[in-house]
């Protein structure tokens, strides 16, 4: 009898121990969000004295977002020499929103897209380069990585 008890106990433990891991789609059982997603398309090359168009393609739950509540673009240069403040982007259909600007000066740029639709608000920002980087911009970029590299060492 004792043996049987032992065996059945061990059996129950192995079930209890093995049964317990979180199921993959467990998030489906709780409140879920369908966040807005944005793809920001920067022109592959910039030429002087022409307006270049930046695009944002908005999707939500895999569907293109038409008539978004708002889509604003904010563009600036890292060295502070240029700043286009928030401007409404133009809707081109099929989830695409665009803004055209002059990018005559070379350097490191940033764009931040402020977009909202159905309670989901996003503000992704992207870094891009027009022409060549100046030395100070290169240095700025490298400082960022130095900090990160140090922090990773300590993290492990």
């Amino acid at each position: 009898m004792k043996k049987n008890i032992c065996i059945s106990f061990i059996f129950i433990f192995s079930i209890l121990l093995s049964a317990c891991s979180l199921e993959k789609d467990v998030t489906d059982l709780y409140k879920e969000e369908t966040p807005l997603e944005a793809e920001i398309i920067i022109p592959a090359s910039f030429s002087a004295n022409t307006q270049e168009t930046i695009k944002a393609v908005l999707t939500k739950g895999g569907k293109m977002v038409e008539n978004a509540d708002f889509v604003h673009f904010e563009i600036w240069k890292q060295d502070g020499s240029l700043k286009y403040s928030m401007e409404q982007a133009e809707e081109k259909g099929n989830g695409t929103y665009t803004l055209s600007k002059n990018f005559d000066s070379d350097g490191l740029y940033y764009i931040k897209v402020h977009a909202s639709n159905d309670d989901s608000i996003i503000m992704p920002q992207k870094q891009f380069i027009v022409g060549k980087l100046s030395e100070s911009e290169l240095e700025f970029l490298q400082k960022g990585i130095q900090k990160k590299a140090e922090s990773h060492e300590h993290h492990h």
């Binding site: 979180l22 998030t27 409140k31 944005a38 989901s120 608000i121 992207k126 870094q127 380069i129 970029l141």
Partner: protein, 447 residues
């Protein structure tokens, strides 16, 4: 024995188990009750200990979080910033958590001047030490399992104790609800244990059952089952990982390594960059986070910013995960989104910690803790006084096979609390392989 006790084998068996479990686990229960009593008053104690770090004089506008963190980075150049906690009101400092030289520090910042008020090594937080003793006897996983075992066996003590206490026929309320003062030392000693024990039973069971869900083995598995069933905490609050950003790694901006030349293609430098923490603070305010929230700062490219608030009251709890590149809310779990079991556990935790109802909650819990200490001590005293000189004084062991009901109860508890089951197997093995085979031990233990 002068007291008349029913001499059935069931009564003796229960008594024997209560006796051994009591002797082994009473010291642990005393440790838990003492540390618990102190930890209950954590808010007041920390308020007193760290008032110099926490109080600031409001003057003008607060500096943005990013500026405060930048100042901390200047003071601790090789530190990793892991967490930011804005002060919950205008006269509270903000706290920046960092890890530096493998130590976890909290830097208290004056948000108005941007100056550091002081640093606190997490190792030096006295309440964290108390919590460590309470939760794992400062012995890591092994300690955690021992505490859990003590808690589970305390349930066995309660059940067996109630059986022993249960009034016999024609017994008046004295000796049941009140101690008998004039019936001699033996009876008074018994009543000194059994009567208060009955009075604190409900409270003790409550503290055990609300404490168990945070234990490492039973608690973790319980939480997993609850979360998997859809009625527990949503994933990532207790078990499971946070959602990840939908942005692909290749779309994230890389940074050049070497100073002289670009050693990564230009196209890799272009890409998404993480949001500033100021944007995250803006999102927290927009989403109406409880003011006691903290922001966990992602350390990996695929990580998320996590806002979390676990204030005094369970119904104010909130956890929000934010995509570090787009600022999208990937998950927003409030108390209302917990499943039923999750809500019960959340309430259990705040009641157990004594924060849910403030001072009155703390006082009631303190009384239960004092009761546990008293009952554990009086039980020990009862045994010490009754103990014969040359043996342990355990009640005689009947053949356990003859007591089916008790056996099933034990097996039931062993299944519900696998650690109890595991310890039962160990007890049986010791009994079977050692005690029964060596007559000196057998006599000493009265087996």
């Amino acid at each position: 024995m002068e007291t008349k006790q029913p001499n059935t084998s069931l009564y003796r068996t229960v008594w024997r188990w209560h006796f051994y479990a009591g002797i082994i686990f009473a010291p642990l229960l005393i440790i838990l009750a003492v540390t618990g009593s102190i930890y209950l008053f954590k808010p007041q104690i920390e308020q007193f200990l760290y008032q110099d770090y926490q109080a600031v004089t409001p003057q003008g506008d607060r500096l943005p979080a990013s500026q405060q963190i930048e100042n901390v980075k200047e003071l601790y150049p090789d530190a990793v910033v892991t967490k930011y906690h804005p002060g919950e009101n205008a006269s509270r400092s903000s706290e920046v958590s960092i890890t530096s030289n493998k130590e976890s520090l909290t830097i208290f910042m004056d948000p108005y001047t941007g100056k550091s008020i002081g640093e606190l090594n997490d190792e030096d937080r006295i309440m964290d030490k108390i919590e460590e003793i309470h939760g794992e006897l400062m012995a890591g996983t092994l300690g955690d399992r021992i505490v859990e075992l003590a808690a589970c066996w305390a349930v066995v003590l309660i059940v067996s104790g109630l059986y022993l206490w249960y009034p016999k026929k024609n017994q008046s309320l004295s000796g049941v609800l009140f101690p008998r003062l004039k019936k001699g030392k033996h009876i008074f000693r018994r009543d000194l244990h059994a009567v208060p024990a009955f009075w604190i039973t409900a409270g003790m069971l409550f503290l055990i059952m609300t404490g168990l869900p945070w234990s490492g083995f039973w608690g973790n598995n319980f939480q997993l089952l609850a979360t998997n069933s859809g009625s527990g905490y949503p994933p990532s609050i207790w078990t499971g990982s946070a959602p990840t950003s939908s942005i692909k790694t290749k779309d994230i901006a890389d940074v050049p390594w070497a100073a002289e030349n670009l050693d990564v293609p230009l196209s890799d430098i272009q890409g998404f960059i993480p949001l500033s923490i100021d944007d995250v603070v803006t999102i927290a305010n927009r989403e109406d986070m409880h003011p006691s929230y903290s922001i966990n700062i992602p350390q990996e490219t695929e990580g998320v910013y996590t806002l979390s608030a676990f204030p005094a009251k369970a119904q104010d709890e909130a956890t929000i995960h934010i995509d570090q590149y787009s600022g999208a809310v990937l998950a927003d779990y409030r108390y209302d989104h917990y499943g039923l079991i999750g809500k019960i556990v959340a309430w259990g935790i705040t009641l157990h910690k004594g924060t849910q109802f403030g001072l009155i909650n703390q006082i009631i819990s303190l009384l239960i803790c004092l009761g546990i200490m008293f009952v554990a001590c009086s039980g020990f005293y009862l045994w010490w006084k009754r103990k014969p000189k040359k043996s342990l004084g355990a009640p005689k062991a009947p053949q356990i096979k003859n007591i089916k009901l008790f056996l099933f109860l034990l097996i039931g508890l062993g299944i519900l609390f696998p650690l109890v089951g595991l310890s039962l197997i160990v007890v049986w093995l010791i009994d079977w392989l050692i005690i029964k085979k060596i007559s000196a031990v057998k006599n000493f233990l009265n087996a």
